[in-house]
Symmetry: C2
Subunit: 247 residues, 2 copies
């Protein structure tokens, strides 16, 4: 099932895909996904970021087996960095060079704290494509990543939330990162050092997550340099493609 | 003028103090602070966190003159850590020892990016008391501060937003940190290495702030150890006192 948010003449709406229409729902987090009766054709609908996180977390150094030799670590991103499909990623020349990073993103369904591994599947609403845009020259100057991770439009999410993948089903999904139509990086979620269950057990041992929050699971070799005028397109197998202009 | 948010039988309300009543306003950020006509007596009103930030930033190592020898640095806190006066700060034994940190908190009025020093006063809605609760043994394990700064209730704010202090007026405000009624730390905002103007110029050179966002300006020697069962009370001259139980 695909959950999304779309723009309508009377404002944004949370929706679920029913065949060739987006059916408006009361709330992505309401039991049974109660439909309001309002529908919009899938063709031509403008998709927004599929959720409105209060908390956006990214996993640091989670790119390969060697990263299991050090403890997991995460950073928080400003919720104001979230944009949807087609919205611009704005580069600031003063921030230096920038990469896009294609990442599996977890969307949280409900309040989650001190999770056991067995509890993890129950708090996941679904999965979307995340782009953890990073001004990486700033990371060297600021170990807290505040300077590198929070530029305008630095967290594209979308195109929708896929709910039909189980936790086991995201263990080996292909991630393809294209810039202007040419593949710049190809990898798989199997390259992540700490898997989704381990990440949510770790993160919720330190803080509370809630409905709509997002965890960017890490970049297993899925980054690509970008400059203004280019377009990034990140595809994750079984989810979809997230496309954003770089300006 | 004091802006606050109060609990009412029909939900939270943004308010402004008019003598002995809290007058409900459409929005703290609406021009002219348009009143709805609804009022509540100041006596007995339950105060909530005075704003609902999407972004909470804290200044790192901003405690004295030596901190000017290294570049300014900041960390982001989960917006889910924000609580109001009287709400509990919840300690997790697994996180180790905890301090409360009494800090002047800036509340942002409007979208702010790439500010010049001259533009800073125009984006400040007002000031409140912030408590940047920190599980400091976690800071040594996690230089990103994700583990140390995001426990439940780790960002008490309140009791209200004082709008009558100019930027120059917050340069030397006394901060008093009490635990169970005994003063544990006394200092002044004059001890901050980077002042409010420098902070907002620095932060908005890297990211966008918006209405209701909060910057915790740093702890100039205003921290105190706490354990469950105690109560912290932080007073900033000209603003008020923020009291929270530690559980």
């Amino acid at each position: 099932m695909r959950l999304a948010r779309i723009a309508t003449p009377t404002g944004p709406r949370p929706v679920v895909q029913d065949g060739d229409v987006w059916a408006v729902v009361v709330d992505h987090h309401s039991p049974g996904l109660e439909r309001t009766g309002e529908t919009h054709p899938v063709d031509g609908a403008r998709l927004l970021a599929p959720c409105e996180p209060r908390v956006v977390l990214g996993m640091a150094h989670n790119s390969g087996p060697a990263d299991r030799l050090v403890p997991p670590q995460a950073f928080t991103k400003s919720a104001r960095t979230v944009v949807g499909p087609g919205e611009p990623v704005r580069l600031d020349p003063a921030a230096g060079k920038v990469v896009v990073e294609g990442e599996l993103a977890i969307v949280i369904a409900r309040t989650a704290r001190h999770l056991t591994p067995e509890q993890v599947p129950g708090v996941i609403l679904g999965w979307t494509v995340g782009n953890d845009v990073t001004a990486y020259e700033q990371s060297a100057l600021d170990d807290k990543f505040t300077q590198s991770k929070n530029g305008d439009g630095f967290t594209p999410l979308g195109p929708w939330i896929e709910t039909d993948l189980a936790v086991a089903g995201v263990a080996d999904l292909a991630i393809d990162v294209q810039v202007d139509g040419a593949t710049q990086a190809e990898a798989s979620t199997s390259g992540l050092a700490w898997d989704v269950v381990e990440q949510l057990v770790y993160l919720t041992s330190h803080l509370t997550l809630g409905p709509g929050d997002v965890v960017l699971t890490g970049s297993p070799g899925t980054s690509a340099h970008v400059v203004p005028g280019q377009t990034s397109a990140i595809t994750i197998e079984g989810i979809g493609t997230l496309t954003n202009p770089i300006v």
